[in-house]
Amino acid sequence: MADVVEVRDLRKVFDGGKGSSTRAIDGVDLATEPGEYLVLLGPSGCGKTTLLRTIAGLEHPDSGEVLIGGHVVNGLPPRARQIAMVFQSYALYPHKTVLNNITFPLRAAKLPPDKQREQVKWASELLGIEHLLDRRPRQLSGGERQRVALARALVRDPRVFLLDEPLSNLDAKLRASARDELKRFQQRVGTTTVYVTHDQIEAMGLGDRIAVMHGGKLRQLGKPVEIYDHPADTFVATFIGSPPMNLVTRGEHLVGFRPEHLLPIENVPAAVERVTMPFRIERVEYLSGDRHVYGTITGIGDETRVIARLPSTIDTPISGDEVHDFAVRADKLRFFDAASGIGCDPVPLS
């Protein structure tokens, strides 16, 4: 059974000098399931990388506990935690061949040489890099470096994988296939994985669950579909989704709905409960088949600029400078407290 990573009430403050300080991690509680692929998602500076490095033992928390496999590892140096980490830069040892890069963790673990060879063979076959073993890192392409970094992480059978934006150095085309490969690879190995990214597409595609972080705090933890459909607060609502969720102020509350749920009234079945709002259209953009409609809506709260996304299956004629009635299915509306931004129960709109 795979090991579980857990952090309890973790806090870490970085002293910026001259009295300024940053709360990089501000009381985070988080636990993975065994064998889970957990993604830490957030904008840059949200504390996700610091959290990962704290789990690795490269940073020391000011308070709180880190547990791996049920044991508190706070006092242990990284080498005693039996974790493997892939860095954003891959951090391959530039003076060592690929073979020696992969063997390094095994040498450090003082494995007998025949066992070392066996492990290296297994890892390099799994990642398809047997033909690269004699090369040096600078002779490899970005994708090959990433595989070598993964092989080096994998080779000594760690209890936990920690991945810090391993795809961000790849070009867009390679990234999609590498993402797919990473997912299949983790499913095959079955090791608990914590994956840090600022890219919501990676997070949605890879994560069994996603932990959304902001300002050193954990904002929401849940399956991708939960994060998307039921954001816990306005930060998650607007950070996830492209374009983000529309938020309309209505008294002490905010009414939220996804752009793809705001449709011309003709396209929302009358049989379901729906909320109608007049949409003054300003501009229409065509993006890969979808129509993004920009404008202002009235009727459910303050006049607000919103975006509607009409899939290519909807061909209702829409043009700028007209007012068209749009509607959202009532069950697609989300509600937040205007002051705190935290999600709340539905409020009547009529």
């Binding site: 490269l58 080498r79 830069s89 951090a91 040892y93 530039p94 963790p105």
Partner: protein
């Protein structure tokens, strides 16, 4: 196209390259090339300070210095002086570099103190050492007498006994060069990406494995450059020897540079001084080639 021809002079790369190179080429020819050529010419002549007319004498000067025991002693001393100094400079410089990159309170004070020997003019600092190592009034001896290592009225004669004098000269020279080596090696250390050290930590490597398996191999080209620069500075240096011992006692600290100076300038036998000084050349050439190789290795890593 005539556009190229009409380009202003200041925009033409081919012109600029030559224009910017010219001052350093003139400088090198005037201050290095000409004296070097003169030294070769002088070494085959009978020029002295009293009779500066050029007469070809063939290899006579070389035969004379080969038959001179002091020359061989100086050559041996130079090699001992350079080798031991460099080992100490590289090892101590490496240790200091590691201290300099570490984070601790009062770091600026330590950095300042470390760099002080390098920033002090050599004549000044060596004269301080001359006083510290004085045969009668040495403060070091005074401290040792107070502590009880020396009896009353006893002295160590730091510069008066052959091996002790060599040791003192090496110690002062190392004291002077270590800061430079430390700063060069520090530059090498900070150029190692932090991720690589972190990766090694996560991969299970302890302090010594990281130091020997990662840090030292990655800084090796820089260490080599620091060492070779130091070797050149040591090999050609006569300031410390000249101020502290003038080669004594009985030539036991005489090095090629100081011997060439004593023979050629003070003794007035310019021709023989030139011949002695030319023996520095092959070793310096070797060091220069080695430096260029390390630099190339750094570029390809």
């Amino acid at each position: 196209m005539t556009g190229r021809a009409r380009m202003p002079l200041a925009d033409r790369d081919s012109f600029l390259a030559k224009a910017f190179l010219l001052p350093s080429i003139v400088y090198i020819i005037a201050l290095v090339g000409v004296p070097f050529g003169l030294a070769i010419a002088f070494s085959f002549s009978d020029i002295t300070a009293g009779d500066p007319s050029f007469d070809w004498v063939g290899l006579r000067n070389y035969r004379a210095i080969f038959e001179d025991g002091t020359f061989w002693q100086s050559l041996g001393n130079t090699l001992v002086f350079t080798t031991i100094s460099m080992i100490l400079v590289v090892v101590l410089g490496k240790v200091l570099a590691n201290i300099l990159v570490a984070n601790f309170r009062g770091k600026w004070l330590v950095r300042f103190a470390v760099l002080l020997p390098w920033t002090t003019p050599v004549a000044l600092s060596t004269i301080s050492w001359l006083w510290l190592l004085d045969s009668v009034f040495s403060p070091i001896d005074w401290v040792m007498r107070q502590v009880g290592f020396l009896g009353p009225g006893e002295n160590t004669y730091w510069l008066g006994k052959p091996w002790l004098a060599m040791g003192s000269v090496i110690a002062v020279h190392v004291w002077r060069l270590v800061p430079l080596a430390a700063v060069i090696m520090m530059a090498g250390l900070v150029s190692i990406p932090k991720d690589i050290d972190d990766a090694a930590r996560v991969d299970g490597a302890g302090f010594w494995r990281r130091m020997l398996g990662i840090t030292i191999p990655l800084t090796m080209p820089v260490v080599a450059v620091a060492g070779l620069f130091g070797a050149i500075l040591t090999f050609t240096d006569m300031a410390v020897v000249y101020v502290l011992t003038r080669g004594g006692p009985t030539n036991s600290t005489q090095v090629l540079a100081s011997w060439a100076y004593l023979k050629g300038i003070q003794g007035g036998d310019v021709a023989q001084g030139a011949a002695i000084a030319l023996f520095l050349f092959p070793l310096l050439l070797g060091a220069a080639v080695a430096i260029l190789r390390s630099v190339r290795r750094m570029e390809t890593l």
